[in-house]
């Protein structure tokens, strides 16, 4: 009978339960997603040139575990708060507390187990989907990547089951030992706000100092790779703690200053919004700190991922000015070249002899020749050339495999060239407006050339081969960056959304009262928008600062970590904004009539 009643209670709160359930599922699927990379040693080894990758992923697991535990703890509290009034009622009507505590145990554990099972399945699905999406669409070369990875699945199960056993125990114990009266009145006990000014000041100072230490570590790691083994744990700890203190102290200080400014706070609903935020942030500090860390990880991962991608382009473009060099172009190759839209062709005739590779002077004079040159600062510069530049001939000759080429190259007059005995050959150089956009064509050309001249397979001097090499070198890192970025983004969004939505039920009364005393619907909506906007932007601002400093760590791997940084930031901003709008919409649906 009691069981029937309890299940009936679930039906009435289907919306709350679906919030809870989807939150837990996302946590499980993200955890699986991360483990599928982090535990896959073969994947890590074959896809990352950096020795420390496995080590860093180890810390990633710890961090994600902490985040997940906090998250599930929130979810569990939410579950308990939904149930305690009802169970308190049962107890008041005479149900035994041992029976009730058994029921909450079973309920908590069952919800957790189902969410974990479904979440892991979803995790496998997402892992496969995201993996495919990245590998196919971004031309990445990734090996040993498996969307279904048994150890990851097992560990996800173990981890979640253990957490849920603890949560279930906790719930049943807390129901057993709380007085019935307290259970019944649970709703009407809002968190108390006790502010100790001295402690607030200490916290803000401590927070800033901790962040400074963390930032210093990250900068140092960028300069000295051996520091990683000390730097990662120290930075992790100081930045997490620093973020927590800063959010806990600085934001409330700002809000209180705004409140004290009566010409602002006493206008319309401003004071209500500020107070609501003040209460919220005291309650939200943990989740906001977590979100800001995840924000930094997600944005950082995507930024670094894109950084590696650019690195591929920069290096490939920097080494070769021409997008393709085609020896003795044949019909098939000519057809491919013809299909390219914006292009400039340069054709050089040459004759290879024992001592020299000969080129026509007239070719150089009529067409010129450009090559790229790396300066000391690793920036490649285009050098347009004429005959007086001694390295032109050498650069030209570079397109012929080494063992085939003569020791030296030389420009000669047409008459001389014609009289030479060697076999006349041509080299066609193609320059387009974008190597990347015509990648598939150049790939075909490169393959045909390699088939026609097997020496080119070894030599790999054309731009496509260079690109291919670098791409395989950086793809793994790029892949990890994007993959983790997406995973952390999903996790952070669901955390924040979960927290905001799970608190919404308690806000209904407040907004209803404001409505009754004559607040326009529009003002209510505005105050909700503002409130949620602040909750979203506090972690975002800190997260962005973390990323900007954190990029220093990648200086050894990326020679310009800040180049085109606006692209990942913009992508991220749009996605984050999307989450903001969804949360806002769902929240208003719950809170306003």
């Amino acid at each position: 009978m009691l069981n029937k009643l309890a299940i009936g209670g679930i039906k009435h709160r289907l919306r709350d339960y679906s919030v809870l359930f989807s939150g837990l599922m996302i946590a499980a699927s993200i955890f699986y997603m991360f483990l599928s990379l982090a535990l896959n040693k073969a994947f890590l080894k074959s896809n990352s040139p950096a020795q420390a990758t496995a080590f860093i992923f180890g810390f990633g697991i710890v961090l994600l575990a902490i985040i997940t535990i906090v998250y599930i703890n929130y979810a569990n509290k939410f579950l308990l708060s939904m149930r305690q009034k009802e169970y308190g009622m049962f107890m008041m009507l005479g149900a035994k507390s041992s029976k009730i505590s058994k029921m909450i145990f079973v309920e908590t554990f069952a919800i957790g187990a189902i969410a974990t099972a479904v979440g892991s399945l979803i995790g496998i699905g997402i892992t496969g989907f995201v993996g495919d999406l990245l590998i196919k669409n971004m031309d990445m070369q990734v090996s040993h990547f498996n969307s279904f990875y048994l150890p990851a699945l097992l560990w996800t199960f173990v981890f979640f089951i253990v957490i849920f056993i603890f949560s279930a125990l906790r719930n049943s114990i807390s129901l057993r030992f709380t007085k019935v009266m307290t259970l019944l009145n649970m709703d009407s006990q809002p968190t108390k706000l006790k502010r100790n000014n001295a402690w607030t000041i200490i916290q803000s100072i401590l927070g800033v100092i901790l962040l400074a230490i963390g930032y210093w570590c990250m900068v140092k790691m960028g300069k000295d790779a051996t520091f990683i083994f000390l730097g990662v744990p120290v930075a992790l700890f100081t930045i997490v703690a620093g973020t927590y203190f800063v959010i806990n102290s600085l934001t409330t200080t700002i809000i209180n200053l705004l409140k004290r400014n009566t010409s602002f706070s006493q206008k319309g609903l401003n004071n209500f919004t500020l107070s609501q935020l003040n209460f919220r942030i005291a309650d939200y500090t943990k989740i906001l700190s977590m979100v800001s860390i995840m924000f930094a990880l997600a944005l950082g991962a995507i930024t670094v991922g894109l950084g590696f991608r650019q690195q591929i382009d920069t290096v490939a473009n920097g080494q070769n000015y021409y997008d393709a060099s085609i020896r003795n172009i044949n019909n098939k190759e000519q057809n491919l070249v013809d299909k390219i839209d914006h292009k400039k062709l340069t054709v050089y005739e040459f004759k290879n002899t024992k001592k020299f590779t000969y080129y026509r002077n007239s070719d150089l004079e009529s067409q010129g020749f450009t090559y790229n040159k790396f300066s000391k600062s690793m920036i490649s510069k285009e050098v347009p050339t004429h005959k007086s530049n001694p390295s032109v001939a050498f650069q030209l000759q570079n397109t012929i495999p080494v063992d085939e080429a003569a020791p030296q190259a030389k420009f000669v007059s047409d008459a001389k060239f014609d009289s030479l005995s060697g076999k006349p050959e041509t080299m066609t150089f193609v320059k387009t407006d974008s190597f990347k956009n015509n990648l598939s064509t150049f790939k075909k050309i490169s393959e045909i050339q390699a088939a026609r001249y097997p020496a080119y397979k070894q030599f790999g001097g054309d731009k496509y081969s260079v690109y291919k090499n670098i791409n395989s070198f950086f793809s793994g890192l790029e892949f990890m960056g994007f993959f983790l970025g997406i995973a952390f983004l999903a996790m952070l969004a669901s955390c924040l959304m979960f927290k905001i939505l799970s608190g919404a039920a308690g806000d209904v009364k407040r907004y209803n009262m404001l409505y009754k005393i004559g607040t326009r619907q529009r003002s209510l909506r505005q105050t909700i928008n503002k409130e949620i906007a602040v909750l979203f932007s506090v972690p975002a601002v800190l997260g962005i600062v973390h990323v900007l400093v954190g990029l220093q760590m990648f200086k050894p791997l990326l020679y310009k970590p800040y180049m085109h940084i606006e692209v990942p930031f913009l992508i991220f901003f749009v996605l984050y904004l999307g989450y903001y709008f969804i949360t806002r919409y769902l929240y208003k649906k719950i809170v306003l009539k």
Binding site: P190, K516, I517, G518
Partner: protein, 250 residues
């Protein structure tokens, strides 16, 4: 002088046309003069809250006419209703309805802030009403730090601070012990007499009702009887109410 409340033939039917319908109010007529303190009494389920919700624009009547301070509120649009509540009406509910995240002061100041009163004028207004209701000492407390009686007086101060045309109360003493109830009713009487504020109070507690000038009895959605205090003392009026309740209930 324009009447503060003028209700003509209102009817309220719950439920849509194709569903099971319930007539909560039928043909209700009455008026409230400026400065009057009127009570509405009736058994549970008789339609008191329904009536009050219609008067305060929180709900609409199925038919009939309601004028508050000369304005026909049945024709108002959504925003106009909100503004109307914000400017012309003060509320006191049974369950306090204070915002727990605002201090007593901030709760009281809220209606003024909603009207975009300048901050300079807010403080004196809040201070003066708080002094009148004896709340000066507790203005910086949060609602959880107040007793039930104090909370209800804060709610009363919030209802009064913007000088509304009328105060509506739905069982304001319902959750109070007799001592706090008496203190609140004394306060209400005081503002009614001294500041000439009109009050319309729903209650089924005869003691609270005995503070009113006039009492309307409502039964099954209809106003059945009216009782006036006139020259009686509060004690006599209380007895009279008890008597009528006895006969009215039969």
């Amino acid at each position: 002088m324009t009447k503060i409340v003028e209700v003509k033939n209102i009817e309220k039917i719950y439920g849509k046309a194709n569903e099971k319908q319930f007539k909560a109010l039928s043909d209700v007529n009455f008026e409230v003069q400026p400065g009057e303190f009127v009570g509405i009494m009736g058994a549970s389920g008789s339609g008191k809250t329904t009536l009050l919700n219609i008067l305060s624009t929180l709900d609409t009547a199925t038919s009939g006419e309601v004028k508050i301070a000369g304005e026909d509120i049945t024709k108002l649009k959504n925003n106009e209703m909100a503004d109307f509540r914000a400017n012309k009406i003060g509320f006191i509910f049974q369950d306090f309805n204070l915002l727990e995240n605002l201090t007593a002061y901030e709760n009281i100041a809220l209606p003024l802030a909603l009207q975009n009163t300048s901050p300079k004028k807010i403080k004196p207004a809040v201070d003066s009403i708080s002094a009148k209701l004896g709340l000066t000492e507790i203005l910086n407390h949060y609602p959880t730090e107040l007793s039930g009686g104090q909370k209800q007086r804060v709610a009363a101060a919030r209802a009064l601070v913007h000088n509304p045309s009328i105060i509506f109360g739905d069982e304001p003493t319902g959750a109070l012990d007799s001592k706090s109830a008496r203190a609140l009713m004394d306060t209400m009487t005081k503002v009614n007499k001294e500041d000439n504020v009109s009050i319309l109070l729903v209650t089924h507690d005869p003691f609270s009702a005995s503070f009113c000038d006039r009492i309307l009895f409502i039964k099954d959605g209809e106003i059945g009887q009216e009782l006036k205090k006139e020259e009686h003392s509060r004690g006599e009026f209380y007895q009279e109410i008890l008597d009528s309740l006895g006969t009215f209930a039969e």
